[in-house]
Amino acid sequence: MNMSASVTSESKACYAVEVEGLSKNWGHTAVLRGVKLHVPYGSSVTILGPNGAGKTTLLRILATLSRPSGGRVRVDGLDLLRFDQSIRQRIGFVSHQTYLYGELSSFENLRFYGRMYRVPDLEQRVVELLEQFGLAEQRDNLARTLSRGMQQRLSLARALLHRPKILLWDEPYACLDQRAADALTGILRDLRMKGSTILMTTHDLERSVQATDQVALLVAGKIVYEACTQTLSREQLLATYLERTRSRT
């Protein structure tokens, strides 16, 4: 089979991310139980949920770091199990782990990852990203010497190096102070304006309402609630969150 032709024919899709009946088991423990989720192109969706609900597992599956136990997942129209390498070229994944080599400088980290993604005009792209994320002055500093906020920004720059269509972001506000979190919200807003598709998880209800178009509530491995943030206040979301998570966790 001609793989590239097949990838092209598979790519015509309505949704950036389509998840149908996704399940994931760790031994006898079911972490995800029939998750159904559709993320349209250019939209930003936050997945909320208590600890252990399966948010990180869901994102790790979409990022091809973990294999699903069942169900169907398509990213940018491509089947996750068949075209994992092509999918990795189309997604950027930011985790609470930075994936940065402490003994390499900011520039060297981005250059290394850029080479792994075959980024054209790499040096120029790296400089552009360092400037965009306010890290130009830290260009030659070792990653381990950067503050947590700077590392988080560098990690985001790493995920955006290859200009992915879809950004997967796990707990972006974890371990950030107020100022760094505000800066991150600004970055998210810019990415949305540029048309990126963003799927993120967070515990921060207020920021999820501010920063994204849609919220989905994942409880005990299932999506139990979805809403558009334009018609939703923080108070309404909090009430729903408390009600839906009370009896299931």
Partner: protein
């Protein structure tokens, strides 16, 4: 799609990191030298038995030093979960294995090059011998092929320092025996053709285990 540039990128990154920390190379060198020096003083070496004993000591030093290097090479990837960063790259994951393995070959070879002159001086054996280098190269490739795969398996376990030797040494016993025998014959001044049986075994080991590791790495690296 398989692209050898990915493997090369990983090697360049590993070498750049090691140049700064010198942790793997330093540990390998110190350990290998200690083994050789301690055995040299512990065993009663005479001119007639040195060549029988020396090959075993040399390969004990290389094998254990290599193990330290394999552990270190993935400890680096464990920090900040960098191994996942590599897995996220749009590269064939088998090329990550090739890159890590070649990096280990580079570090182990550097350590071996430093150890050999001291080994020659202490055991009074000739090491400026291309046949000996060939034996060492084949042994190093085999150790690195298996060691790199097992190091990535061990790194995700809690008892990683214990798991790696438990996995590595039973599998590499045939390789190490062949390496010791071939080294002995070469140091004894025999022709390379006389060590051919052992060299063939080492070459077979290298090819089989490199291929198995190459094909299996993607499955091993996943959760």
């Amino acid at each position: 799609m398989t692209d050898w540039r990915d493997a090369l990128n990983v090697v360049v990154k590993d070498v750049a990191t090691e140049m700064r920390t010198k942790e793997a190379l330093g540990a390998m060198l110190v350990f290998a030298l200690l083994v050789i020096i301690i055995f040299n003083f512990a065993l009663e070496l005479r001119s007639d038995n040195a060549r029988e004993i020396a090959p075993g000591i040399l390969w004990v030093a290389f094998a254990f030093a290599g193990m330290l290097g394999f552990n270190r090479s993935f400890a680096l990837e464990r920090e900040n979960a960098c191994i996942e960063g590599l897995m996220l790259a749009a590269a064939d994951r088998s090329m990550i294995y090739v890159g890590k393995m070649l990096g280990n070959v580079v570090f182990m070879s550097l350590a071996e090059m430093c150890v050999l002159p001291i080994f020659a001086a202490l055991f009074d054996v000739p090491v400026l011998n291309p046949a000996l280098w060939l034996v060492i190269l084949l042994g190093t490739l085999g150790l690195c092929a298996v060691g790199t795969l097992f190091a990535v398996m061990a790194v995700s376990t809690r008892a990683r320092e214990v798991i790696l030797p438990l996995l590595l040494f039973p599998i590499t016993v045939p390789l190490i025996i062949a390496a010791v025998k071939a080294t002995g014959q070469v140091l004894d001044g025999q022709r390379l053709s006389e060590a051919f049986v052992w060299l063939r075994l080492m070459l077979g080991f290298d090819i089989i285990f490199t291929l198995l590791a190459f094909l299996g790495f993607e499955y091993v690296i996943e959760e």
